[in-house]
Subunit: 394 residues, 2 copies
């Protein structure tokens, strides 16, 4: 089992405390699993109290023994939220006037309980601040992400061996997921936020693959039932339609996101051309996405290129378009930055983004590309490297 | 694609409005995916406003066309929360004095936005009320759940064909998940609540299977990394250790939960005996769980039987015990009722529960059973029917 090095945890703490100081927060109470894991090395259930300076207090409900193995922040046991004031008091930490919580995910009922325990504290939303700290990846994280990219490329090389005419979409999904799990895919993808649900992969084949999404994704898929309206349907895969394979890899705790288009036979020239436009957009973004560039300008660039190609109505949805072209990822699939309309935030070296220009053709299918990149001084560097062109099988 | 019959939706609405009337709520605003799906037939992103009487207003952000196919409540388009007051005003609905929200899952930030749009409303927690309405399954739901049980039994009959000495746990998971996906498993399990994360299955083999859970589950498993500390590890499966297979089936939108123990060779007599005690507990609960019995009394019964057998320290955890013996399920894995310590709620006919007496032996493994049942006048009726005994393979 790989544990987060202590030097990483110390560096992350310093960056968080620096951001807290700028925001005027005297403390932050962290509870969300991936925030916990990032700042402590453990995702065991509990609380982390981060003061403005000095060491955090890691309080673990369960499992204490696992947390002690995984985190160097010496976890102390806690039974419930009611114990927090006394634990923090014993640690000599003052009750803050203003403190932060993960208001983007913390349920109201839990918040009410926290307010009861800390009646004098003014609670503010610290989720943006936490997510910004997490958005710049360390060399340690990048080394894991590079390994994830290599592992995930294997899937896309494997697909031509199992994609055959008439194969049910469910069987293809079974084959691909079996391949991923065999090579250590962890089977779960964190997708931060209320109502955001995610299986770790989507197969989007032909007309049923072009069915719209109910979530903030350019593609959806018909799915196997309205309660989870995504990905594979009960159809079999036919010749000459695009078969989009959009899978998230999760290995060694980290995520990469990748999409490729396959076809049994030959793709319609109009769809083939749109795929080429997606590759041009990807190439242009990869060149321009250097530190200091605003996220919104990259989205704008993509929209303009889609327009020039006369494909604006198909870009990132059909009558149901999303207004982004890429998203940060790492421990969660929807981290910062977001390459979206109007976003003024600027890229920094070490940010990791999935860029996914896609075109949706109703009743025909989905084409386009998705790769995971790291922002460098020279532009985007690829973490997922399998060939971008449409892969034709006979 | 199966759509929820209109008669079902009408009946669910009536039962919700009756509960609202008792609770003094003039309206409920529903947003959570599975609550949306239950009351409208669609899980497309949006809002349902349920007034104290009369028809609900289904407002859909995306995808409008899918929602119109799936729900008979005539979805109206909505762009954002800001549109709600005017849509409701146009529908002739008064602004309520007291209304309900799903406070158990609604994030604080989203709540603040709702408060801004409805400054005169006093918002209360309606999640308990909604979950109680959902806890009693209709004949329509039970017919789907029976089919789910039959499908899921197939997995457990399949396992002896793939469980062999030395097979990596990850490969076994790959084989089982491939089997499930081929037969239409939807691949995603809704697990309601903050920080509750779930892959649809766990393999708990030998010592690594006995590693404690960080969540409200009797079992955890070592997992493949601390960010998702559950289920399979990088180990291979050896002879004479219990191999627990705990998978959630999801077919036709509904869930069943089932655990069986396999062994290559022979199980230690102490573990074999504990497994027998788990079966005795299951049998006794199945007999006693008739309408009107309190949930807490069934938990108490199980604890006493574990004590009589001298196994109380191993029951439902090791040094990390959970205080329940069963849980409701249907669209979510953790529905009401919960057969837990001190719960006074009484069983009703048509409730569906997974009962899971389990014993954890540190450094040795997990034994016990889990089946999904429906509450009938004669006690629990099984929805999952594969044999309960330990399954030995040569």
């Amino acid at each position: 089992m790989e544990y987060t090095p202590h030097s990483e945890l110390k560096d992350r703490l310093i960056r968080l405390q620096r951001a807290m100081s700028v925001a005027g927060l005297e403390a932050v109470l962290i509870m969300e699993n991936m925030d916990m894991y990032y700042f402590t090395g453990t995702a065991q259930a509990g609380y982390v109290w981060v003061p403005a300076s000095g060491l955090p207090v890691l309080m673990v409900r369960k499992d204490q023994a696992r947390a002690a193995l995984e985190s160097r922040w010496n976890p102390v046991p806690v039974r419930s939220l009611r114990d927090l004031p006394s634990i923090l008091g014993e640690a000599g930490l003052p009750v803050p006037a203003v403190a932060g919580l993960e208001m983007d995910v913390l349920p109201v009922r839990e918040f009410w309980r926290i307010q009861q325990q800390f009646p004098a504290v003014k609670w503010e939303d610290a989720s943006g601040l936490i997510r910004r700290v997490r958005s710049v990846k360390s060399p340690y994280e990048l080394s894991i992400l590079r390994e994830c990219g290599k592992l995930h490329d294997n899937l896309f090389a494997h697909i031509p061996r199992v994609l055959t005419e008439g194969i049910p979409e469910t069987t293809l999904a079974a084959e691909l997921e079996s391949f991923l799990r065999r090579q250590g895919h962890q089977g779960y993808v964190n997708f931060r936020g209320f109502n955001l649900e995610m299986h770790y992969g989507h197969i989007l084949a032909g007309p049923q693959g072009a069915v719209a999404s109910s979530t903030e994704s350019p593609t959806g898929g018909l799915g196997l039932g309205p309660a989870f309206p995504f990905s594979v349907s009960r159809h079999a895969i036919t010749r000459n339609v695009p078969v989009g394979v959009d899978y998230v890899g999760r290995y060694h705790n980290y995520l990469v996101d990748q999409t490729r288009i396959y076809v049994i036979g030959e793709l319609d020239p109009e769809l083939q051309r749109a795929h080429g436009v997606a590759l041009d957009i990807q190439e242009e973004i990869a060149k321009r996405a250097v530190p200091g560039v605003s996220c919104g300008s990259l989205y704008q660039l993509a929209v303009e290129m889609a327009q020039e190609a006369g494909l604006q109505d198909h870009f990132m949805g059909w009558g149901n378009q999303v207004s982004f072209i890429g998203h940060g990822l790492g421990l969660e699939l929807n981290e910062l930055p977001v390459l979206a309309r109007g976003v003024e935030e600027r890229l920094e070296e070490g940010m990791v983004v999935a860029v996914e220009p896609k075109f949706i053709f109703p009743n025909r299918g989905v084409v386009g590309i998705e790769n995971t990149f790291v922002v460098t001084a020279a532009g985007l560097e690829r973490l997922t490297c399998f060939q971008d062109e449409v892969i034709a099988v006979p």
